[in-house]
């Protein structure tokens, strides 16, 4: 480590103003601060400094996603082999499944990072800004919420669209209104619907005779079609990172313990989904309404969205009371879209984007009510 650090500092003058590689200053700075905590010191005014900076925060979120990613890779292989009638047991052919899954998943990760970081680096150096690390998380979220059979060029197009239109036009990291990864998914969902929905896309190279329908698609007929333990463990078809509820809960625990993800938002999304599920159970007008409410927690991407995407500190509500309302809104909307509109089985995607748009309004009302209460007391 010491050697690397010395090397980096030795190279630095080359990139500073007047140096040989002045043009690449932002790129160099981006990498150097990624490796080591920057040694810049503030010169005037009073500053409040947190123990961890933005790069470390982002890295923790990626760590929290690793269980979901690893399990996702295994499950991609598992689903492929069982659709062909091979290695039917959970652990059988472990290495084959893992290798097959990594061959399918890793290229998506590489394309997502390559395109996204490429655009960020280009825009940062053309504007002379410091390179932001916001895309580190988005770049990992994008592969996790896509079906394993997605063509790579579509990943590239969607990532480029999301980075430019959801983020850079609003001013870059920390300024975006919508969650960047979900914007990429929603773009794919509307631009190439045949690759993002239906029964054939959720299992890579599926055998034709095998049904590849997700639990959510099956639920239209009144039952998820998978055993509860399979849905909790994650041995079901679905987007790469969303299937295993256990892996996501490990990530959630890590985020809550490190104080990065808001437990209030995670809880209230679940609460909202549960309330809406109970209401539908009580109405029970069609088969989907009669699906027991607790199945909504373990079907589809509700949990993944609640843990990793609704909690995005930039796009979520900022006030503590607002977080409860924001989460409730998302949870209720998600289940409502699922049940009312079978054409959009994955309601959580649209629900979170809707919540993102509403978040500033929620904050406004929370602040206003605080002001009113304190005025009344005075």
């Amino acid at each position: 480590m010491k050697f690397l650090k010395d090397k980096v500092y030795e190279l630095r003058p080359l990139f500073n103003k007047g140096g040989k590689y002045e043009k690449f200053h932002t790129v160099f700075d981006g990498f150097a601060t990624f490796l080591f905590t920057p040694d810049h010191v503030t010169h005037d005014g009073t500053h409040i400094k947190a123990g961890i900076d933005l790069k470390r925060t982002m890295f923790f979120v990626i760590l929290a996603m690793v269980p979901a990613l690893l399990f996702g890779m295994y499950n991609v292989g598992h689903q492929h082999f069982i659709s062909n009638g091979e290695f039917l047991g959970y652990g059988e052919g472990f290495l084959d499944k893992l290798i097959y899954g990594s061959i399918k998943v890793l290229p998506i990760v590489v394309v997502s990072y390559g395109v996204g970081l490429g655009i960020e680096f280009f825009i940062a150096s053309s504007k002379g800004h410091a390179i932001n690390e916001g895309f580190l998380v988005s770049g990992m979220l994008i592969p996790l919420i896509l079906p394993p059979s997605i063509p790579l060029w579509m990943v590239a197009v969607a990532t480029a669209f999301a980075v430019v239109f959801a983020k850079e036009v609003f001013g870059g990291t920390g300024m975006n209104i919508l969650n960047v990864a979900l914007t990429a998914r929603v773009f794919l969902f509307f631009a190439y619907p045949t690759f993002m929905s239906g029964d054939t896309v959720w299992i890579a190279e599926k055998a034709d005779a095998y049904s590849g329908a997700t639990a959510l698609a099956n639920s239209i007929a009144g039952t998820p079609g998978f055993s509860t333990s399979d849905m909790i463990m994650g041995f079901i078809p679905g987007s790469i990172g969303e299937t295993s509820k256990i892996a996501i809960l490990i990530g959630a625990a890590f985020l809550i313990l490190t104080g990065i993800g808001s437990w209030k938002i995670m809880t209230s999304v679940m609460l909202g989904a549960g309330i809406m599920g109970l209401i539908f159970n009580a109405v029970g007008a069609n088969e989907f309404m009669q699906v027991p409410f607790y199945y909504h927690f373990i079907m589809g991407g509700l949990l993944f969205g609640a843990v990793f995407m609704a909690t995005d500190p930039v796009t979520a509500a900022q006030t503590e009371v607002g977080k409860w309302w924001y989460g409730l809104l998302i949870g209720m909307m998600a289940v409502m879209i699922r049940v009312f509109n079978p054409a959009y089985p994955e309601g959580i995607m649209l629900a979170i984007l809707f919540g993102n748009v509403m978040a500033p309004l929620i904050d406004y009302f929370v602040v206003q009510s605080n002001i009113k209460r304190r005025l009344a007391r005075a």
Binding site: P151, F187, F190, A191, F195
Partner: protein
Amino acid sequence: MSAVETQVKEAKPLLSKKDRKLMVDPLNDNNPITVQVLGICSALAVTTQLKPTMVMAISVMAVVVLSNFIISLMRNTIPSRIRIIVQLTVVSVLVILVDQILKAFVYDVSKQLSVFVGLIITNCIVMGRLEAFAMGNKPGPSILDGFGNSIGYAWIILAVAFCRELFGSGKLLGFQVIPDAVYEMGYVNNGLMLIPAGALFVIAIIIWIQRSLNTKLEEA
């Protein structure tokens, strides 16, 4: 109306500087769609294909130019209290005429455009030009202003339709332009371009490019 135009031209060797400004300004610096943000609804609704968009552009041009001309002729006799009603009457007569002509000669396209021809009457550009220009200017300049604005409108919706038809259906004017070989390599048409939301993004990109090229439009 061409007689009036040639008169203007005969009186001076070329279009005077002021008249030229009437024609050229709406193309870029004061474009009705990208700068004044008028007529967005029809720009979203009719631009999935190039052919109906062309018909729409021509229809709007006919309505804007003629209504500008007629209102400008009558401008001194219209009581200002009921001017909107008078304007609407003139515009609606023209719109019905255009609609009937389309139904008679290009029935297919007319069916595709459906209500949007009738809705030209609500196109903000028409009323905007009548209020802002024709009510206070002579017929000659009013015609030029009508041409300028409708061409400014036309080139934007044609550009949007070009992008949407090319990326949304792989065709231009109904002919396939993206070769089959590309589709065999895995290319797929972009469904987002077929829904109105796609048009918003295309217009946003056009505005973006326009503002980065035209420094006059920079906002403080």
